[in-house]
């Protein structure tokens, strides 16, 4: 891939942000836009569906075929995007696959009636964290299309280990019978979550706040401009 670069001089003139040039692959852009469109439509649909299920409007259908169909679609999306992450050699493509993967997982949350968590996943994870990652890519790579791969031996070993692990986990799951499966808990309202957060989980909640503050300071400190 051609590594044409256009350097944008950011203020202070020391950090050079490197953007993909005009010849950046069309596929990448379309990937982004199609993925984003797909996610936005689908998440809206899923969120409303999830709400409808919780309200008892749509009890019959999703319990049967529709749920099965939806699950398979979404789970297929997850698996496909995970494989995409695994096999991509290009770091930007990996990020795009991760984007799709996180979005699909958010849809799984909607199906699990965890609407709030799904929304948070879309906002924080697929939104914030991913943007952060892409910034990381942009800021740290002379050319975003650089590929570094592990030696073939390691690749094979990793593949063997992972596949074995997956198969054995699957086997464990199939052999396990869960007690208490008969009742499926309804989706929790935001109020329930909020109330629980500031009652039972108050201390972790506060600690998380402190953690975020420390992280903010720490990240700013680590990434600051050297004098």
């Amino acid at each position: 891939m051609k590594s044409e670069e256009r350097r944008l001089k950011i203020e202070m003139g020391t950090v050079h942000m490197v953007c993909p040039s005009r010849s950046s692959p069309f596929a990448l852009r379309s990937c982004f836009s199609v993925g984003a469109l797909f996610l936005s439509f689908a998440s809206t649909a899923f969120a409303s569906a999830g709400t409808a299920i919780d309200r008892g409007v749509m009890t019959a259908a999703p319990a049967g075929k529709l749920e099965w169909l939806l699950f398979n679609l979404v789970a297929g999306g997850v698996v496909a995007s995970v494989i995409g992450v695994c096999v991509s050699r290009n770091i930007v493509r990996m990020a795009v696959w991760l984007f799709i993967c996180l979005g699909s997982v958010a849809m799984l949350y909607f199906m699990l009636a965890a609407n709030f968590l799904g929304a948070i996943q879309l906002i924080v994870y697929a939104g914030g964290t991913l943007v952060l990652l892409i910034f990381g890519v942009m800021l740290t790579s002379k050319s975003p299309w650089v590929r570094w791969e592990a030696p073939l031996v390691e690749m094979i070993a990793a593949g063997v280990v992972c596949v074995t692990l997956l198969v054995s986990l699957w086997a464990v799951l199939l052999r396990t019978t869960w007690s208490g499966l008969e009742s499926v808990s309804p989706g929790a309202s935001l109020a329930t979550i909020g109330e629980k957060l500031i009652n039972v989980y108050l201390v972790p909640f506060e600690v998380a706040g402190v953690l975020l503050m420390i992280v903010m300071v720490g990240a700013a400190h680590l990434a600051r401009q050297e004098e």
Partner: protein, 103 residues
């Protein structure tokens, strides 16, 4: 054709193994970070699935998932900052070349 707990757990297992594989095979620091994110996501999915099917209406699983997201965001921020720092010092984010601390 009912979708149950196991289905979700299998998807989570796929996510986990995929994340693991990504961590093992990428040399780009950001790539490793992506693997970590996948693993974290799989754990959230586990929590949420268990909460739905075994939680008996308590939302503990969802809240734990929330905390993991917070943690992941924090971790990503720090990791990207470290990447930038590494890049400033070594002009690369290839983890194989970041060996200055190695004996």
């Amino acid at each position: 054709m009912t979708i149950g707990l196991t289905h979700y757990l299998v998807v989570a297992a796929v996510l986990f193994c995929g994340g693991l594989f990504t961590m093992m095979t990428k040399r780009n620091a950001v790539g490793i970070l992506i693997g970590v994110e996948l693993v974290l996501t799989s754990s959230i999915l586990n929590f949420v699935a268990f909460d739905r099917y075994l939680g008996k209406g308590r939302v503990d699983g969802q809240i734990t998932g929330l905390f993991i997201i917070v943690l992941a965001a924090a971790e990503a921020a720090i990791a990207v900052a470290i990447c930038i720092n590494v890049y400033k010092n070594l002009s690369t984010v290839d983890v194989d070349r970041a060996t200055r601390l190695q004996g």
